[in-house]
């Protein structure tokens, strides 16, 4: 019991690092800074700095694509969600990602790639004109910088909670390191670090589910133990409990999961969020650009092993010092009860349970790498959109290439400083963190409506695209404010007063997407169409898709996409 007391330290922090753990962390920092200086020599032109010279292989672009989304905020949040809602949380990794990633690779990537656009707002400019680009670029730039600040604060908070580190120390060290390597090496540096981070996360986190399953006695015994501890078998099923809002821990209906998450939220994020799409645009040819999301999807399917499974294991094996089952609580409750831990701490708690010196350092380094990668992804995407779609489009259109590279480097530093300001703002008003994350979802669903109509429907006009995007975004914000100020509105937005916040997000996204599509269609039909000759390379039906160069079935992206989707269906049936 003394050992347990030592692990759950009484001064608030969960554990402390041994010298070997600090060595592992220092080695990581040394390597990422070295990578920044190494990549600097290859970031001379804007194509080099913002798109890594478009010379990445399918494997590197694919791993970077999936890794850009695998930040620690995501890892810890979804491990906590698995503890709270059971295996339902895996929907965000499977139906909430796989179909959309494959759609991006097989259907949408050719248009992004052959249009030679530098960004998603850049595609909107080519397809719908400057208005749609401005709405998209401004909202994206603001959101990425805020998200970078949220990541920064989240990292500092975790380091304080787990290791007792000073918040300002964590914010400034993390921000300075990320700013240095992104400013020096641009997207190339960010991509190298993202691939490194992907490997590191698996190396640091894989021991938790492996040792957890050994302790629980295997998957079947784990499910039985969770059923005993929670008094229900609902935590082990993905689909069989989705018949009614009341039947599952998440308070969600299957229509919300299939249409809200599986279609709108997922397709919106994975196909139009420039943070992830930018990684695929760095591919060295069309086949690599099509294969990258397929490779990313295959790896994405495996992530629940290191994220969802630890959350489920905690429901069975996580114990208090007296041997009783530990009950984690919401963040708002844990904040006022020093002896209690929040859902979001489930991953660090499991890490401390199974990992001694060395392994603990590896796990903590993986978390730090995840946070830094989240910041780097946001700030590198911000720097591209700022330089190409705001500065280069509206402020200084005629500068030479070197000037834009310099602007990219400076906007990285300025973006990071604004992120630091956001981190301190969040520190003084924690509720801002929830609002920033909700804000991010406001823009994604309508943006998907605009992009998909732009790619697949040649009749969509400039005014249709612009007003549809604006209407979708405004309606999403309006619905959010309505539910915040009137709880009774939930039954209209989510179609049931039993719905929980997670379900509300899904339905709000679905409605805002539909509003965007309806407004785009109606306005397009009553306004002047875009001449067909201007749509070549941008729209399905008027664009000859070039051959991707695959000669054998093993080289064809569509073949591997079919393999991935079959595995996806099998996994859903196994955990039905």
């Amino acid at each position: 019991m003394q050992a347990c007391a030592a692990l759950l330290m009484t001064n608030g922090q969960l554990t402390k690092l041994a010298p070997v753990d600090i060595l592992i962390l220092v080695l990581y920092f040394a390597l990422v800074v070295f990578i920044g200086f190494y990549a600097k020599s290859k970031a001379n032109t804007s194509e080099d700095f913002f798109l890594a010279g478009r010379e990445m292989t399918a494997w590197i672009a694919g791993l970077s694509f999936v890794s850009a989304n695998l930040g620690s905020l995501e890892l810890m949040g979804w491990a906590g969600a698995a503890y709270q809602y059971g295996i339902l949380a895996a929907h965000w990794y499977w139906i909430g990602a796989i179909p959309a990633m494959l759609f991006l690779g097989i259907v949408m990537m050719p248009f992004y790639y052959i249009s030679k656009t530098h960004s998603v707002p850049g595609y909107l400019q080519l397809r719908f004109g400057e208005g749609a680009r401005a709405v998209s670029a401004v909202s994206f730039a603001v959101m990425t910088i805020l998200m970078s600040g949220v990541n920064m604060y989240a990292m500092a908070l975790v380091m304080k909670t787990v290791l007792g580190w000073n918040i300002s120390f964590s914010i400034w060290v993390g921000a300075a390191t990320v700013a240095l390597y992104v400013m020096l090496g641009g997207l190339r540096s960010a991509i190298i670090n993202e691939v490194l981070q992907f490997v590191l996360i698996w190396a640091g986190a894989a021991m938790i589910p492996i040792l957890g399953l050994i302790e629980a006695g295997g998957w079947t015994k784990l499910k039985a133990q969770i059923a005993v501890n929670m008094g229900t078998t609902d935590y082990g099923h993905m689909w069989s409990t989705l018949g009614h809002f009341k039947d599952n821990p998440m308070g969600v209906h299957w229509t919300g999961i299939v249409f809200g998450l599986g279609f709108v939220v997922s397709f919106g994020y994975w196909t139009t969020d420039f943070l992830v799409v930018q990684r695929v645009l760095s591919a060295h040819n069309l086949r690599a650009a099509k294969m990258a999301p397929v490779i990313g999807a295959a790896f994405k399917m495996a992530v629940p092993f290191i994220v969802i499974l630890p959350g489920l294991l905690a429901l069975s094996v996580l114990k208090n010092p007296d041997g009783s089952l530990m009950h984690l609580v919401p963040e708002s409750v844990a904040a006022f009860h020093p002896g209690m831990h929040s859902y979001n701490q489930v991953l660090p708690l499991m890490l401390i349970r199974y990992c001694g010196p060395g392994l603990l350092g590896l796990g903590i380094t993986a978390l730090v790498a995840g946070f830094m990668s989240g910041m780097a992804g946001n700030v590198s995407a911000f720097s591209t959109v700022w330089t190409y779609d705001l500065y280069g489009a509206f402020i200084n259109k005629k500068a030479d290439d070197k000037h834009y590279v310099l602007m990219g480097r400076w906007s990285t530093v300025v973006g990071m400083l604004v992120s630091i300001g956001t981190a301190y703002l969040v520190m003084n008003a924690a509720s801002i963190m929830d609002y920033v994350q909700a804000l991010f979802s406001f823009f994604i669903a309508p943006l998907f409506g605009t992009v998909i109509l732009g790619m697949l429907w040649k009749r969509a006009s400039h005014w249709g695209g612009f007003l549809g995007l604006l209407a979708g975004t405004v309606s999403s914000i309006g619905m959010f404010i309505w539910v915040q100020t009137n709880a009774g509105a939930l039954r209209y937005i989510a179609m049931s007063s039993d719905a929980k916040p997670m379900a509300e997000n899904l339905y709000r996204a679905l409605w805002s997407w539909m509003i965007c599509v309806i407004v785009t269609v109606v306005v397009s039909l009553v306004t002047k169409p875009v001449p067909t000759e201007q749509l070549a390379g941008l729209v399905y039906g008027v664009t000859p898709i070039p051959d991707d160069g695959a000669t054998t079935i093993w080289q064809k992206p569509i073949f591997w996409a079919i393999v991935v989707i079959v595995v996806f269906f099998v996994l859903n049936l196994i955990f039905w």
Binding site: A3, L27, L31, G358
Partner: protein, 80 residues
């Protein structure tokens, strides 16, 4: 491609080399730590005695050393 260009290109560091070298170093650190823990188990293994027989730090260190060693050699700088 002339000889000079070929030399420059082969001197580039592969992303996989970075992954390999980091995992190799981490693996060796974990192996050394794991060996010292055989007779002096850390606090979490005192709490969970079944962990002591598994030696997770040592074996995970071996896995990372093999993985990292393979990638470091396979993608070492200068390899054509």
């Amino acid at each position: 491609m002339d000889e000079h260009e070929r030399e420059v290109e082969s001197a580039e560091l592969s992303i996989w080399f970075f992954c390999g070298i980091l995992m190799l170093v981490y693996g060796l650190v974990l192996v050394a730590t794991g060996i010292t823990e055989v007779h002096h188990p850390p606090p979490n293994e005192v709490l969970l005695p079944w962990l002591q027989t598994l030696h997770p730090t040592l074996w995970w260190g071996v896995v990372l050393t093999v993985f990292g060693g393979f990638y470091s050699i396979r993608f070492r700088p200068g390899r054509a």
